[in-house]
């Protein structure tokens, strides 16, 4: 087993355990606080990760990502305010449980459900990623082009909100990703003679603007200071035996839903949790119990979002295609270190791949400890008023971006993206698909051009390759479905 011979020796080195703990600790911290998402946290720590070894960097950023899923449910249950978007559905039954004086068991169940989801997700990564990588070894530029095109279209069509607006955001992301010198011809594109734009700009700037600054503007004066959130002592946490009996099957169903939606491009944990809740409701005859504090209604979505987070590493690490916007940012971190994830990653960099997977186990055990015995700490963090929090977030955004290149110009770009992102958010344009477009756009172009060189410019020759043809047809089906859906919506 490579996990034990290669993975754990890497993950158990002092520095990696320390950064894993830092990642999950900060992840829970930002997860608990409404108004900062896991993605913003990943973007905030990205400048720090540039100074780290790539394996350590991904261990830390990964810990942030799945740690935020654990923390997010705390605010959902206690405040009826989701800590992160993927915990929104937990409010539906978690908050009623808290109102009935069962906040403790609710917090306990979500932590256990999160752990089970993460464990099942990690096992799937261990077995499916090497298989997918072996399959993808035969991929050429044509297959990559079609797989990435499918990813882009899926990012626009499967997400939340109006599909056509998501597609427009994907295209906007691709356009922004194109800025800079064209590697094939040496032509400057959309640089307008500004020297800072000649090499394009890193995804951190986009993520800090569209998520960090936008979230701050959106949250100021909307997140109220909470004086009292109730007492959560260790003794009050224990669920009843009846609760345990009830959540076993919902957790399995949640894990299945999460593992299915996690690796799909453009879906991710938020959609997985909503669908898991819907599925759970369908599975019970006494549907009207849901929304009134049913334990099944918190167990299923919390398992699903954690399973989705872990399995979203499968396409990112084996194909270089991010499954969610957060994964797109993490992919950006790997690219900075000169690592292009792909099917050869597991063979060429086994320390990175297995080390990161081993760190999932370590990190999730840390999280279980942080979220059950130490839950009181996080409940107290909920009482930090947002008016003190947001100046600190703004400060970290500015200094983080400035430290990338010692360039005030980069911070200026963050401001423009932040204001623009807020205006777009007002008009219901979701920024997540844009990040996927930004990171996939240049890769799609490169692979398309390479395959056109091979086929001498004959586009239809792509359909002679069975895998490429399958991907292209799927893309077409999705597009038709999107257009049909949009026409029906607008009627």
């Amino acid at each position: 087993m490579d996990l034990f011979t290669i993975g754990f020796p890497v993950a158990l080195t002092l520095i990696n355990v320390a950064y894993c703990f830092l990642g999950v600790f900060l992840g829970t911290f930002v997860g608990v606080l409404p108004g900062i998402s896991g993605l913003t946290a990943v973007a905030l720590l990205l400048p720090l990760s540039y100074h780290l070894d790539p394996t350590t960097a991904i261990i830390m950023l990964g810990g942030l990502y799945y740690g935020a899923e654990y923390g997010g449910s705390t605010a959902s249950i206690l405040l009826n305010l989701p800590g992160t978007a993927s915990n929104a559905v937990t409010c539906l039954d978690g908050y009623p449980m808290a109102r009935q004086g069962r906040a403790g068991p609710a917090l306990f169940i979500t932590s256990v459900a999160s752990f089970i989801g993460a464990a099942i997700g990690t096992v799937l990564v261990m077995f499916l990623a090497p298989l997918l990588a072996k399959f993808a070894l035969s991929f050429h530029s044509a297959e990559y082009f079609s797989a990435m095109l499918l990813g882009l279209v899926a990012a626009g069509t499967v997400g939340q909100g109006r599909r056509i607006k998501s597609v427009a955001m994907v295209v906007l992301g691709m356009t922004l990703g194109m800025i800079g010198i064209d590697t094939n011809t040496g032509v400057f594109r959309y640089t307008y003679g500004i020297a800072n734009l000649y090499d394009g700009f890193p995804i951190v700037i986009l993520a800090m603007g569209f998520f960090g600054v936008t979230e701050v503007i959106n949250s100021i004066n909307r997140i109220k200071f909470v004086a009292e959130v109730g007492d959560v002592s260790l003794r009050s946490l224990m669920p009843t035996a009846e609760d345990f009996r009830r959540i076993t099957k919902p957790m399995m169903r949640g894990a299945a839903v999460g593992s299915f939606f996690g690796p799909l491009p453009g879906t991710g944990p938020t959609i997985a949790s909503f669908i898991a809740y819907a599925v759970e409701k369908k599975c019970h005859k006494d549907e009207d119990r849901f929304g009134k504090g049913a334990v099944e209604g918190i167990a299923a979505p919390e398992t699903a979002n954690n399973a989705a987070v872990q399995t979203s590493f499968i396409p990112t690490l084996t194909l270089g295609i991010p499954g969610s916007a957060t994964m797109a940012v993490m992919l950006g971190a790997l690219l900075v270190h000169g690592i292009q994830p792909g099917p050869k990653l597991i063979v060429e960099q086994p320390e990175l791949f297995w080390g990161v997977i081993a760190s999932f186990w370590i990190g999730n055990i840390f999280l279980l400890i942080l979220n059950i015995p130490f839950i009181g700490l996080w409940v107290r963090i909920l009482k930090i008023p947002y008016k003190f929090l947001y100046p600190c977030i703004l400060c970290m955004i500015c200094i983080g971006v400035y430290s990338l290149n010692n360039s005030a110009f980069d911070v200026g770009m963050v401001i423009i993206f932040g204001v623009f992102g807020y205006l777009l958010k007002l008009m219901d344009f979701e920024p997540a698909p844009m990040l996927i477009g930004f990171i996939l756009g240049p890769m799609v172009e490169q692979n398309f051009r390479r395959s056109m060189v091979i086929t001498h410019g004959d586009f239809w020759a792509l359909f002679e390759r069975p895998i490429t043809a399958t991907f292209l047809i799927l893309t077409l089906v999705l597009l038709v479905w999107m257009i049909y859906g949009s026409l029906r919506e607008s009627r």
Partner: protein, 112 residues
């Protein structure tokens, strides 16, 4: 295929999508989204003052300006704690970035 091929495809797609979204929006009943104007302006001004000050005057005044101007966004104001926050954060960021990480940033130009 030159360097302009891909931008042209994206541009054309954007135009088509834009027209489509515009027509859709025109045909349905709209709602005017509630606008968080004060935070938008305050955050914009705060961040801009950071950009203007960091290279010219240094990291300590830049962070102070960012926090003080940015704090104008909140309805409830507590100037004592905000000033304290600005002071602590600016010194802290100067220590971390100029002293520990040795980035080429000055604390206050001409002084430290």
């Amino acid at each position: 295929m030159g360097g302009g091929y891909y931008p042209m495809i994206l541009g054309a797609t954007s135009i088509v999508l834009g027209i489509f979204i515009g027509v859709m929006g025109w045909r349905e009943k709209g709602r005017i989204p509630s606008f968080n104007l004060l935070p938008l302006v305050a955050v914009f001004a705060g961040l801009s003052s950071f950009v203007l000050l960091i290279d010219r005057v240094g990291i300590i005044p830049a962070v102070c300006a960012l926090i003080l101007v940015g704090s104008l966004a909140g309805h409830e104001k507590n100037w004592t704690s905000t000033v304290l926050l600005a002071f602590v954060f600016s010194i802290l960021s100067w220590l971390i970035f100029s002293i520990i990480l040795e980035l080429p940033v000055v604390g206050v130009r001409g002084l430290i």
